[in-house]
């Protein structure tokens, strides 16, 4: 800012008095200025614009480095388990029925997540050709109320870190809220 102001005051005071008084001139007609000054100003504008663009680029790059999280499915977490360490994760999975334990007094929610099955065109789950070991991770979320949409069998996104023994310590459990509801059939 300092340099910009200095620069302008210099330009303005170097102008003849009569031009300085034209604070609110009529546009368009008196656009021409002495050629040498005009040559100076255009590049300087590009410098100003360039600096703003660089600053925005720097802000984006810097924020990317410090805030990005891996977004993985349960199967991917299993595959990369060893390299994830203390990395911030978002894990998409399905709440395994029969594993949910909610303690309202300590606000602790424990459950297991399993992979979301792929669907074929008709909406039926595709069974893997090769039988694989069923993957699941235990999730512990403490200190957050249970989300309204949370229920066994629902798809959730767990934000947190993978700790020792394959337990995900979650800071947040997000439930995806599809705009279309199928009422649960009584089983």
């Amino acid at each position: 800012m300092q340099t910009q102001r200095g620069f302008c005051i210099r330009i303005c005071s170097s102008l003849p008095e009569s031009r300085r008084l034209l604070a609110h001139p009529a546009p368009a007609t008196i656009m021409t200025r002495p050629g040498n000054q005009k040559m100076n100003i255009r590049p300087r504008f590009f410098i100003g614009a360039g600096l703003i663009i660089l600053a925005i680029g720097y802000l984006i790059g810097n924020a990317m480095r410090t805030t990005s999280e891996y977004y993985l499915t349960v199967t991917e977490v299993a595959a990369r388990q060893s390299e994830l360490g203390a990395q911030a994760l978002r894990v998409a999975g399905r709440v395994k029925p029969g594993t949910v334990n909610w303690d309202p007094n300590t606000l602790t929610l424990k459950f297991e997540i399993v992979p979301i099955p792929d669907l074929d065109a008709a909406g039926a789950p595709i069974r893997p050709v090769v039988a694989t070991e069923p993957v699941s991770f235990r999730v512990v979320a403490a200190g957050e109320p249970k989300p309204d949409m949370f229920a066994p069998g629902r798809d959730v996104i767990v934000e947190g870190k993978l700790g020792a023994g394959g337990v995900i310590t979650a800071t947040q459990v997000l439930t995806s809220c599809a705009s279309k509801y199928k009422p649960k059939q009584s089983q």
Binding site: C12, I56, M64, D148, S179, K180, P183
Partner: protein, 674 residues
């Protein structure tokens, strides 16, 4: 009835195609009858889409579950008001609403331009009809609102409980009105490129459309934020979710556009930039619909995955490529003779404000699509959450606030040192004083201090402007103070309405800063009769009351709130709802709002015995001012939009530049049409 809906949509598609052919043929061959006929086709198309909308509304109101759409998004016990809003609860209905709005706006534009812009309007209307054709193709062949179910269910699945809320009733239509009306200035920009009439006629003819669009985008974003605040129950109002970002980006670009067109109107500069901005704004409205509807980016709002994605993407790419090609084709004619002269000029302030707004848009875009990009490039999805957006945008917001103060007061072309001191001495003093007072009051975060000081500075500049204008009138016209003020605003509504909007933005910004930095949170499980504290408030849980209806069951907690002096202030009633049809719990938040802070009580859990409740309570300072700022923005926009004789004359002057031959054609066309 559903057959009528399908028929109407099919006819609308045919009429839209015909209107394009007739408009272009009529203009090229100098056959005004065809232009008139095209106009009538557009109006008929609008009538057809209206019929389709009415048919769907009637089906919803009559709970006609033979329609898949009605069975999916409504139920017989749904309150009537939400049966009406269910029109835009699902994909088919949303697209139908979109198409309807587009048809209405195109009809209005056709009416407005029945005499005006004889050589560009037919092309603009053809562009609008082209957009309508895309949506009508989707409605006719891909995502059909009037599809029937093979077996008629006895009951519908009901509307998502989160959408059974009055903000949800007004938020999507506002946003859609904002989205769709942006296509009118876009169409006239495209028409200017097609015809080579590249003066500012297209900007002036559609200036009100642009403000109208900006106004509804503002409302749409605010309503959405308010909905999130009242319904989602996490104490915040903005989560940088892809769907929110999709609504925010067009707003940013329209804001930039509304500022940069002033430079073109005034100085005949930035033609390419303005045409690019309106193209970008339109593209982002399509992109917004694309990401909410395609499920490409998983979002908390995540809508159903659908087959729409590829179509939208193809349309978006087609529009972008053809528009860019037009810009390149006309680039020689778009060169501007004028140039920037000084950093200390209004056009420079506007240019930098534009760069920052577009920069914020880019950052938001980048953060939104990064998961998809990283998956495509590196094979692993990497997401960035709210911290990314906050970290990038917080400093940029300060820059923008600073320019909001500078821009309106600094002179065009260049400013002298005297002028700077005269204009800015008082506002700077106000800003610095505010900073010192805030620091003395114990605020230490540099960001908050800077934000408050800059905010006060901007409000100071606006006060100086009002005072200066008022005094000038008092001296010249000999008017008393109040009358001078009213006349000042009435005679220069565009300018002073703009100032009111600026104040609104600053007030909202202060609300955002205050609520982001100073929110406190307490989570507690308590028995009936127990109490706990947050800030200076004491909350005592009194007990539950329960209500059951066929539509929903609810448990309402009564919470007594005591002030610091131990006196009762109010009783708050957060509730837990259970929607029977959807088998879905929902939370009803209780909020007590004051200018100083909001007390926000969530009933997070009820234990089975009915004696213990879990509460999550937020104390959020200054969030009141976000909504107050929004109201000021609304007021300011109303002032700006107020009819102004002088402006109408200015438009008439610009439009009379068209040659006399054009005018003859226009008269002929108008006569044929009336």
């Amino acid at each position: 009835m559903p057959e009528l809906g399908n028929l109407a949509l099919a006819l609308a598609l045919i009429l839209a195609v015909y209107s394009i052919v007739a408009n272009i043929y009529g203009t090229r061959r100098n056959a005004p009858d065809f232009v008139v006929s095209a106009r009538h086709a557009i109006w008929s198309m609008c009538a057809m889409v209206t019929i389709a909308v009415v048919v769907l509304w009637l089906a919803l109101l009559r709970s006609d579950f033979s329609l898949e759409y009605v069975a999916s998004y409504s139920s017989s016990t749904l309150p009537t008001a939400y049966k009406i809003t269910a029109l835009w609860a699902g994909q088919q209905g949303s697209l139908l609403l979109w198409t309807w709005l587009l048809a209405i706006f195109t009809s209005v534009a056709a009416f407005q331009n029945r005499r005006r812009n004889p050589d560009t309007a037919p092309y603009a209307l053809a562009v609008l009809a082209g957009v309508a054709i895309f949506f009508l193709l989707m409605l006719n062949f891909v995502t059909r609102p009037f599809d029937l179910l093979p077996v008629i269910p006895a009951e519908g699945s009901d509307l998502n409980p989160l959408l059974q809320n009055y903000w949800m009733a007004i938020h999507p239509p506002s946003l859609y009105i904002g989205y769709v009306s942006a296509s009118v200035p876009f169409a006239f920009g495209a028409a200017a490129l097609i015809t080579g009439k590249l003066d500012d006629g297209w900007i002036r003819s559609t200036r009100r459309w642009a403000i109208f669009s900006w106004f509804f985008l503002t409302l749409g974003n605010l309503f959405g934020a308010r909905w999130a605040y009242e319904v989602l129950g996490w104490g915040g109002y903005w989560a940088w979710d892809p769907v929110e970002n999709a609504a925010f980006m067009p707003w940013l670009v329209m804001t930039a556009y509304l500022h940069s067109v002033m430079i073109q109107e005034r100085k005949d500069m930035l033609k390419v930039w303005n045409l690019s901005l309106i193209g970008l704004a339109f593209g982002l409205t399509l992109f917004g619909t694309f990401i909410t509807r395609s499920g490409v980016i998983s979002s908390v709002h995540s809508f159903t995955q659908s087959g729409l994605g590829p179509y939208f993407l193809s349309f978006l790419i087609t529009v972008t490529l053809s528009y860019t090609a037009l810009l390149i084709f006309r680039s020689k004619q778009l060169r501007s003779p004028a140039e920037f002269e000084s950093y200390l000029s209004r056009e420079a302030a506007f240019l930098f404000n534009n760069l920052i707004l577009v920069g914020i848009t880019f950052a938001v875009f980048w953060g939104t699509i990064f998961p998809v990009l990283s998956e495509a490039v590196r094979g692993v999805k990497i997401t960035v959450g709210p911290p990314f957006f906050n970290r990038v945008n917080a400093p940029l917001a300060l820059g923008l606030v600073f320019l909001t103060g500078i821009g309106p007061l600094i002179a065009w072309r260049r400013t002298t040192a005297d002028n700077l001191v005269r204009s800015f001495a008082a506002p700077v003093a106000i800003g610095v004083t505010t900073g010192i007072v805030a620091a003395a009051a114990g605020l230490r975060q540099w960001y908050v201090l800077t934000a408050f000081s800059l905010g006060a500075f901007v409000i100071g500049t606006v006060l100086v402007e009002f005072r200066r204008g008022m005094n000038a009138r008092r001296h010249m016209m000999n008017e008393p103070r109040a009358k001078a003020l009213v006349n000042l605003v009435a005679k220069n509504n565009r300018r002073y309405g703009g100032y009111v909007i600026h104040v609104g933005v600053i007030v909202a910004f202060i609300g955002i800063v205050g609520s982001s930095f100073f929110r406190t949170e307490v989570k507690k499980s308590v028995h009936a009769g127990d109490s706990f504290t947050i800030g200076s408030y004491t909350l005592r849980f009194l007990g539950f009351s329960e209500v059951d209806t066929p539509h929903l069951a609810s448990a309402t907690a009564r919470v007594e709130v005591l002030g610091p002096d131990g006196r009762e202030i109010t009783v708050m009633t957060p509730a837990k709802l259970f929607y029977i049809r959807a088998q879905q719990p929902a939370t009803l938040v209780a909020i007590r709002s004051t200018p100083l802070n909001d007390l926000y009580v969530v009933l997070a859990g009820v234990d089975d015995s009915g004696q213990t409740a879990t509460f999550e309570v937020f104390l959020t300072p200054l969030v009141f001012w976000l909504w107050a700022g929004g109201l000021l923005m609304v007021l300011g926009t109303v002032i700006v939009m107020w009819p102004n004789v002088r402006e109408r004359a200015a438009i008439a002057t610009v439009l009379s530049r068209s040659s006399s031959a054009d005018r003859e054609l226009a008269d002929l066309a108008a006569r044929g049409g009336d």
